[in-house]
């Protein structure tokens, strides 16, 4: 279980972005962190990964404070510009003991990416696919995806969405942030709503549908109308 | 290996180029000094106490102390050893003695292997320490400052010389330059006795020599509002003083009373000749002496050094590239006691003379 307790973060004196965020992500499930733009969704992911210092709060993975079991796919390019995809894959192999090059090759094939392509010359869609490869090819139980579909055309979105129904999901706990949910709502197990730096609501999607017959979109409207 | 390509390239480049630099350093040949005696016996004590301080101003700036018996000592090596090199007068002294002589208000005198240091932190107490080179023991004495000395604003005690058991100390107020007092400290029974020097009130006084209680001194009086000064020389027995008018006009670099106390030796500094005057106190007659010295000065400048000490005139001159002539002359008899040439096998301009060290 990936547990986040009381994350607090303030930028400068006035603007505080996280006011004590707590939620948890179960393994074998896709949890989606929803919030309007600028609500601090990706700040939470970065805080979990230690990319951003927090004023308070802890992140536990199966009870321990360690990030070895979490992989992170940011919504921007992190490999040095001059690298080709091949270089980047070798780079990951060099530094990550739990890098699974077999999975990487499979995904490269499935996503139709070429190792000779230069990273900075990739289209937005291919860059997103490549970032996913870097995330999924690490044998880690939890995977954080920051806006995996942001700014991507519908066709590429579908190409990407299949991975969430593929065997690569097995045993993995996904925490994903997004603010437009339509195409992938049926894939999500659990939803966490974020507003003004706080978790205002959290529920299991199938349960919501079964008991209240409400889709995530309906809940979103209700929650953010309050 | 491909994963460390650039690290290896730069590492190899660094290693090779620094290697080239080190090889170059080793290849610079350093000075190697030999001493050739021209005249006189190098074993004499007065010759053994002489050290020539030579600087290699070429690429590898190293300093050498060359003794006339051929023993060479390399002093400054590099930045670090420069930092931790003990000043020349401190080496070997016990720590607290070095701490004492280090402070600003203490002046020192080296005489026959003994270092005397005297100073007054606050005008009312004099502190004297002296240390025999060989023994590790430091003698410490404290004296209440004499009344007259206490009146001065900022006193500076200058140990002049020890004769028998008496250490002569001149006291000067270097703030107002208002006169100099002379005291005799008896080291046996710890007494401080003032020596009266006529005609010295409000003047700066330089002691030229002391012998059987007879003192030769020179007074310097600065005229108000101008930088000229009137210098007068006196010979006094502590009560009365006899002006030596003949000497007032002579401008000498160094003046000393001869060992037997009968003559005053005045060394005149000029470049190509070493000349000096011997003035007989009793007959009031002065003899002029001069001696040609072979000398080469060029753009490196530092070519010659002369010093008068214990009736002897020590001269050192650069007579050729990498050759320094040392000569010791008896001031009174004008006899050359010793002459020698320090030869550097490199025979180049960069080897230059800085000074002689007589201890």
């Amino acid at each position: 279980m990936l547990e986040v307790h009381g994350l607090k973060k303030r930028y400068g004196r006035k603007k505080s972005i996280l006011e004590g965020v707590s939620f948890s992500v179960r393994p074998d499930s896709i949890t989606c962190l929803i919030g309007l733009n600028g609500e601090g969704k990706s700040t939470i992911l970065k805080a979990i990964m230690g990319l951003v210092p927090v004023d308070a709060g802890t992140v536990l993975v199966d009870g321990e404070v360690s990030r070895e079991k979490i992989a992170f796919v940011p919504d921007l390019q992190t490999m040095p510009g001059y690298m080709t995809i091949g270089d980047a894959l070798t780079y990951m192999g060099d530094y990550y003991p739990d890098w699974n090059s077999k999975v990487a090759e499979e995904l490269m094939g499935l996503f139709k990416l070429l190792t000779t392509d230069k990273i900075l010359e990739l289209s937005k869609g291919n860059q997103a696919k490549f970032s996913l490869v870097l995330g999924f090819a690490l044998d880690r139980q939890y995977l954080l995806l920051d806006e995996p579909f942001a700014g991507i055309d519908l066709f590429t979105k579908e190409q990407i969405a299949w991975i969430f129904s593929s065997h690569y999901m097995e045993g993995r706990g996904i925490l994903m942030t997004t603010h437009e949910i339509i195409e992938i709502e049926h894939l999500i197990d659990r939803v966490v709503f974020l507003q003004d730096g706080r978790i205002i609501d959290e529920h299991d999607t199938e349960e919501m549908r079964e008991v209240y017959g409400k889709s995530v979109q309906d809940r979103m409207r209700e929650v953010y109308q309050r | 290996m491909r994963k460390f390509k650039f690290v290896l390239i730069l590492a190899v480049v660094s290693f090779l180029t620094v290697g080239i630099y080190t090889v170059f350093i080793q290849s610079i040949d350093e000075s190697d000094f030999t001493v050739e005696t021209v005249k006189g016996d190098p074993k004499q004590p007065l010759v053994r106490s002489v050290q020539a301080e030579l600087y290699d101003q070429g690429l590898k700036g190293v300093d050498y102390n060359v003794r006339l018996d051929g023993h060479v000592e390399k002093t400054k090596e590099n930045l670090i050893s420069g930092l931790f090199e003990s000043p020349y007068n401190e080496n070997g002294a016990p720590a607290d003695f070095r701490r004492f002589i280090r402070s600003d208000y203490v002046l020192t005198l080296e005489q026959e292997g003994v270092s005397y240091a005297i100073g007054t932190p606050n005008n009312n107490k004099w502190e004297l320490q002296y240390w025999q080179g060989s023994k590790q023991r430091v003698v410490k004495k404290m004296f209440p400052a004499p009344a007259e000395a206490q009146k001065l604003v900022e006193t500076e005690l200058n140990p002049y010389r020890r004769i028998g058991n008496n250490l002569y100390v001149s006291v000067q107020d270097y703030q107002t330059n208002s006169g100099t007092l002379l005291y005799k400290i008896d080291l046996k029974n710890d007494t401080v006795q003032k020596i009266n020097l006529p005609y010295t009130s409000k003047k700066e006084v330089m002691i030229l020599g002391i012998h059987d209680e007879m003192i030769v001194y020179r007074t310097v009086e600065y005229l108000e509002g101008s930088d000229e000064s009137i210098e007068k020389t006196y010979w006094s027995d502590g009560e009365t003083a006899q002006p030596l008018k003949a000497l007032n006009s002579i401008i000498a670099n160094q003046t000393e009373l001869s060992e037997d106390g009968t003559k005053l030796i005045m060394l005149e500094g000029d470049s190509d000749q070493s000349s000096w005057i011997v003035y007989d106190l009793a007959s009031k007659k002065s003899e002029k002496h001069s001696m040609d010295i072979p000398l080469v000065t060029d753009k490196f400048g530092l070519g010659s050094y002369t010093e008068l000490k214990d009736d002897l005139i020590y001269t050192a001159n650069r007579i050729d590239d990498g050759v320094i002539n040392i000569r010791i002359v008896d001031a009174v008899s004008e006899r050359v006691l010793y002459e020698g040439n320090i030869k550097d096998k490199l025979k180049r301009k960069e080897t230059s003379l800085n000074s002689l060290i007589l201890n």
Partner: protein
Amino acid sequence: MKQYLMLTNEELKRSWKMIVSVILAMASIEILTIVGRVIYHERQVKEYMSYAKLSESDAIETIGELSFQQASSYFSYVIMIGIVLVILYAIQIWYRDWLGESKYIYRLLLLPGSRAKIFFAKWTSLALVIISFIGLQWVVIQLSYVIFNWLIKDDYRASSFNMSMALKQLYTMNVVDLLLIVLVSLFVVSFLFMLVLLERSYRKAKGLIFIILEVAFLLLITVGNMYVIEKLDIFLSQEISAIMVAIFVLYFVYTIWKSLRLLKWKISV
């Protein structure tokens, strides 16, 4: 250890073109100044000969021979520029990870294991660059001397090899001094790294305040200490040197410790 070396290699690979071009530029400028000075001196002598109707040897007598020391007098300026470039590189080596097209800082901070290897990788690349610069600069000096001797007419030349005072500060013909120079420059690099990391952790205004505090702290230590030693006036010169060296070492370690601490807890993407 292996990862730290690979990261160093990555840092060097990214700025390889820059490093090589700077080295080549500096070398060629220096050699050009040598050639220029020789030609200028020759022309000066020729013109003076025709103007004052003198024989060649007389003209040289007045104008004076050209020594390598004079011919290489511009080297110190080029080295000065080199130093400035290295200082800029010490800053750029960090900022490019935040400000480049790709945010490599994410990847670095996400790498498994301790973040110290990031600091030491960048530090080692600076060290290698600095030592190579110094080493290659010496090679260029020797090369220029060869060119100088080959190019100049024999009787125009003052014979022995010597360097300008400025160059002698760097090349003191003593390897220990060289180590000292490299050590001090690595201290400066580590100090710069600390300042950069301070800015990258606290950002803009707050970062600036912390930088000013840090510099003030350094001044306090150095000047303050000098004042105390002066006032106490009980220390021997060796003891003062020992204290100075101790302060230098302690502060050097402090800059590393502080940088690693910032990198671990305070840094932000």
